[in-house]
């Protein structure tokens, strides 16, 4: 058992694991909606679009974490609503609008950071995460926003389900569809900012979609899908950090690779069992 406990003697490992678990759960639960509503590209774009905010906060705060967090938050919310507005108004397909904004914002972020020559190491942290550098303050912020997001998802569970499954029903029930859509988008934006330090902007989308996608193969109930996705994310966060410790891998990519492995196993397993069951006459269940 020593190999399990040794890494935990370092307080940065404990903080990192706590952060990875909180972020994993929050992203997995919201990611359920991202997967079901086909918003994977939107989530990926939003994560990348946060980079100029991170850079601006970094430049203004001289490297302090606080300004980075709040600038990233403002940028994420603005980009989220900006993408929504542009894709509604312009005569372009939605993925085209998203692609334009996302690449432009990402380029702006890289340009801003490149103004400060020596700080390429920090750019790497923004791009790929630095979960082992999580401070106590970071952890408190992550936990606070994580709890807030989960409470809002719980509070609007049935409304989010209706607008995601059948917008026409939502309209005849006179639910405030646009308001609920914006709320969901805002939650995704906030979860991205909270997760930035764990996996970075480039791998962020994996935290949103991979556990949820694996869970969608295993259950046909929304609530269970959220629960299973969260469990997969917790497992991946912890396992990923152990792998990172013993194999000396970048922490963010180790977590994402674990998620991907879980998905691959789930996919293989469900395909095998489906082939077996479909050989029998259908009709039960």
């Amino acid at each position: 058992m020593d190999w399990l406990l040794t890494p935990l003697e370092y307080s940065f490992m404990v903080r990192g694991m706590l952060a990875a678990v909180i972020v994993g759960v929050v992203c997995a639960v919201l990611g359920t909606y991202v997967v079901l509503r086909g918003m994977a590209f939107f989530g990926d774009a939003l994560a990348h679009a946060v980079l100029p905010g991170v850079a601006a906060g970094y430049l203004i705060g001289g490297g302090a974490r606080g300004p980075v967090f709040w600038w990233a938050m403002a940028t994420a919310l603005l980009s989220a609503f900006g993408i929504g507005a542009v894709s509604r108004s312009a005569r372009l397909k939605e993925d085209t609008s998203i692609g334009i904004i996302f690449a432009g914002m990402f380029a702006l972020g890289v340009a801003l950071i490149s103004m400060v020559r020596n700080y390429t190491a920090d750019l790497t942290h923004f791009l790929f995460g630095d979960v082992l550098g999580v401070s106590n303050t970071d952890l408190v912020l992550t936990a606070a926003f994580g709890v807030l997001i989960l409470l809002v998802v719980l509070a609007f569970y049935k409304e989010f389900m209706v607008i995601s499954f059948d917008p026409t029903l939502a309209a005849t029930l006179r639910l405030p569809i646009r308001w609920l859509d914006y709320l969901l988008i805002a939650l995704i934006a906030i979860s991205i900012v909270v997760s930035l330090q764990t996996v970075g902007v480039t791998l962020m989308v994996a935290m949103l979609i991979t556990p949820a996608a694996a869970a969608s193969l295993l259950t046909r109930r929304l609530s269970r899908m959220m629960l299973i996705a969260a469990l997969i994310a917790i497992f991946s966060g912890i396992t990923g950090l152990y792998l990172s410790y013993y194999l000396n891998l970048a922490s963010g990519s180790a977590i994402v690779l674990t998620c991907t492995a879980v998905f691959a196993l789930t996919w293989g397993f469900t395909n095998l069992t489906r082939r077996k069951t479909s050989a029998r006459p259908a009709g039960n269940l």
């Binding site: 389900m161 499954f165 026409t168 029903l169 939502a170 309209a171 006179r174 639910l175 046909r220």
Partner: protein
């Protein structure tokens, strides 16, 4: 052949919604006009429905049936004219259920039949609250009414086409809808499934649910509904099937696309040659 349980409809009584003005008809449509970019959709359409009535809406493809339903559901604004449901604008009502012709729901969405029917109660339950025992009872009763109780815990992709339509009727019942707008729900269903659907609709008669039902089969329209409406952008005819489905009206609505075979007296054998089941 009808194995559907007939339940007493205690919970589904009209007048359960606030904002329904006494003495106003459930639906009054006055001089509705709507033009799309492509041309005219509806011209000067006016009619009324009385509570509990079931109205078949027939007409060629592109005649404006779906547009009319969307306006009545409060999802589309007409250029001019007025729709009032119990005396008020439809967009304020939650007593209208609308089943679009092409229901683009994701059948692999992780929900059971029971979950979908419960969605009809989302607004009644209210924000920040969870379904109570009374909501579950209403959902159970709705499922019994449409004969889907045994399928309640199934994921929705496991239903047949006819069962899917009955699930949506159950959802409308859970919504306590007074007005059901159903846009070609039997298109693509086999005859036994169609018959099941009609027998469910017949069982709703006692509950005073008012139904508008778009379909292509004029014989079914004549045999299963109180009144029929013949629509081709404007109202060609409305009333008893025998007075609406005349040779003159039908050639006005369909032009050359229909064969009208006069059969002795006033009765016509009719075939809508333009649009078989399977649709657009």
């Amino acid at each position: 052949m009808n194995s559907l349980p007939q339940t007493t409809p205690a919970a589904f009584t009209p007048g359960r919604h606030p904002g329904h003005l006494a003495g106003e008809p459930i639906l009054r449509v006055q001089r509705l006009n709507l033009a799309y970019e492509g041309g005219l959709a509806l011209r000067d359409v006016s009619f009324e429905l009385i509570t509990g009535e079931r109205m078949a809406v027939v007409g060629p493809n592109g005649a404006g049936k779906s547009t009319l339903f969307k306006i009545i559901a409060g999802l589309l604004k007409p250029d001019s004219g007025k729709v009032s449901v119990f005396g008020a604008d439809p967009s304020g009502h939650i007593c209208i259920s609308y089943l679009p012709q092409h229901n683009h729901v994701d059948w692999n969405f992780p929900v059971t039949v029971n979950d979908v029917v419960m969605m009809g109660r989302a607004r009644k339950i209210g924000f920040f609250r969870w379904p109570a025992a009374s909501d579950r009872e209403i959902v159970n009763r709705a499922l019994r009414t449409v004969g889907l109780s045994v399928y309640a815990q199934r994921q929705i992709s496991q239903l047949s086409g006819g069962q899917q339509q009955r699930m949506f009727i159950a959802r409308a019942l859970a919504q306590e809808a007074d007005l059901m707008l159903m846009d070609e729900p039997i298109t693509g269903l086999d005859t036994p499934s169609q018959e099941e659907l009609f027998s469910v609709l017949d069982s709703l008669k006692d509950e005073m649910v008012t139904v508008m039902f778009a379909l292509h089969d004029l014989k079914l329209a004549a045999s299963h509904f109180d009144r029929v409406m013949l629509l081709n952008h404007r109202l060609v005819g409305i009333g008893e099937p025998s007075s609406v489905f005349t040779k003159e009206h039908l050639s006005q609505a369909y032009g050359d696309r229909i064969q009208v075979l006069e059969n002795g007296h006033n009765v016509s054998m009719i075939d809508d040659a333009c649009c078989g089941d399977g649709g657009e």
